[in-house]
Subunit: 215 residues, 2 copies
């Protein structure tokens, strides 16, 4: 079974997953406090951090397991709006993006694809969630597809009932404003089974597994 | 930093991690109930199970991350005792052992090494934990070394203070007899920081991280 999975989606107590303004200085907009708990290296495995293997890190480390493609929104890729300027931007990650798979970037302003030596590629697509997912599954070649965010993108796939597994990380802060994960999302909890665990750091991890439909 | 890590070490409430008698019919001796909660496929990643990604499975899936070599005892490899018979035995796992790295098998009765096509090899060694670990680290080529059990082996490395991280799974059953993980192990808990979490299945996961020594 090929799954669509969300991992390490950080959400504030008031439901925000990103700041309102994303700029070149602030990839997470004015919401960078959301990531204060996160050591990004652990997404490549628990051996990639020098620090203790905590419950938080153990759960963060699922991110890359068996993933063959990612789907992300353009605001995760960069701060530009409207038609893409000719600014040589290749994403926040330099020449070593952590994805190492094809990534489909949702945008109403398509552009040429980009290919990196480490296996990452960015394909800019303007299409429905269903159709983009079809292409991503094809590219994933039997592995799972990660819905990589931001919140606008996750929300869209959630509303279309296209997400099988979702690891949310509830961060014990409020932001007061930003991009909400929950805007216009209602009743999704009935379609999922939830397992929730709080760690000694104060984070709460929610593992949402979609109930299998039919008998 | 290269770590020595123990993963998915199942222990009963009365401290047993294996049965007294291991036979060809019973790899875990008379203690197979210990593994009732375990879906072995998840050690290769959370995508490898059809079932929901639970907290248990998420934690089990750390097993292979960044591991370059394993050290195990001969009773994990097979039920034979004394000098090895000429029985063509190549371990419990057929021609696809899950390890996919060099494995050092502790035994007072060394024999020829075995090499499998999927990257697994078994090297039979009669030496001190320190010396076997030195060889395993060399073979692991910068990755971590897993101390793979059984309990007699884990205990030996624990007593020699050679374990950096240990994921124990406390199973809510008693066995009454078997091979204890704790026999002759005292005071180890002072050298580690513990984070413990219980899942809805009834298992308790203990993440023991050795405190850094020195300043
Ligand atoms: N909290 C977390 O764990 C987490 C995770 C990942 C990212 N983030 C952060 O989230 C922020 C970005 O999230 P966001 O919600 O603002 O935006 P986003 O989901 O990354 O991107 C939204 C944009 O993608 C385009 N788009 C979305 N759906 C489309 C479709 N079906 N067809 C065509 N284009 C489509 C639209 O851009 P156009 O119309 O302009 O083309 C839309 O404005 C960043 O700050 C990022 O760092 C947070
Ligand atoms: N509960 C779990 O999560 C878990 C995990 C892994 C395995 N297991 C189970 O545990 C059982 C095996 O564990 P066990 O504790 O009985 O045995 P073990 O640790 O697998 O093997 C012990 C044997 O290894 C040899 N040995 C150990 N240290 C040595 C050294 N320094 N130098 C040379 N030889 C050495 C000795 O054999 P000789 O003197 O005969 O050569 C010794 O009898 C199996 O049933 C296995 O399925 C359970």
């Amino acid at each position: 079974m090929v799954r669509t999975r969300v991992h390490n989606q950080f959400v504030s107590l008031d439901g925000y997953s990103a700041g309102e303004y994303v700029t070149f200085d602030q990839p997470i907009g004015d919401a960078s406090r959301l990531f204060g708990w996160f050591d990004g290296r652990v997404i490549e495995g628990v051996h990639r951090v020098q620090e203790p293997v905590t419950l938080d890190r153990a759960l963060f480390s699922m991110w890359g397991q068996g993933i063959g493609a990612e789907i992300m929104g353009r605001r995760k890729f960069g701060p530009q709006q409207g038609p893409w300027p000719d600014d040589g931007w290749r994403g926040w990650w330099g020449e070593q993006p952590p994805f190492k798979t094809p990534c489909f970037v949702l945008t109403h302003h398509p552009r040429e694809q980009m290919v990196f030596e480490n296996g990452t590629s960015f394909h800019f697509v303007d299409d429905t969630p269903e159709e983009v997912l079809r292409r991503a599954k094809e590219a994933a070649d039997g592995l799972d597809v990660r819905i990589g965010g931001g919140p606008t993108t996750v929300r869209q796939f959630l509303r279309a009932d296209l997400i099988d597994f979702m690891h949310l990380v509830i961060v014990p802060i409020t932001l007061g404003r930003g991009v909400s994960l929950w805007h216009d999302v209602t009743g999704f909890e009935d379609r999922f089974a939830l397992e929730s665990v709080s760690s000694s750091s104060g984070l709460t991890h929610q593992l949402w597994n979609r109930r299998s439909t039919g008998s």
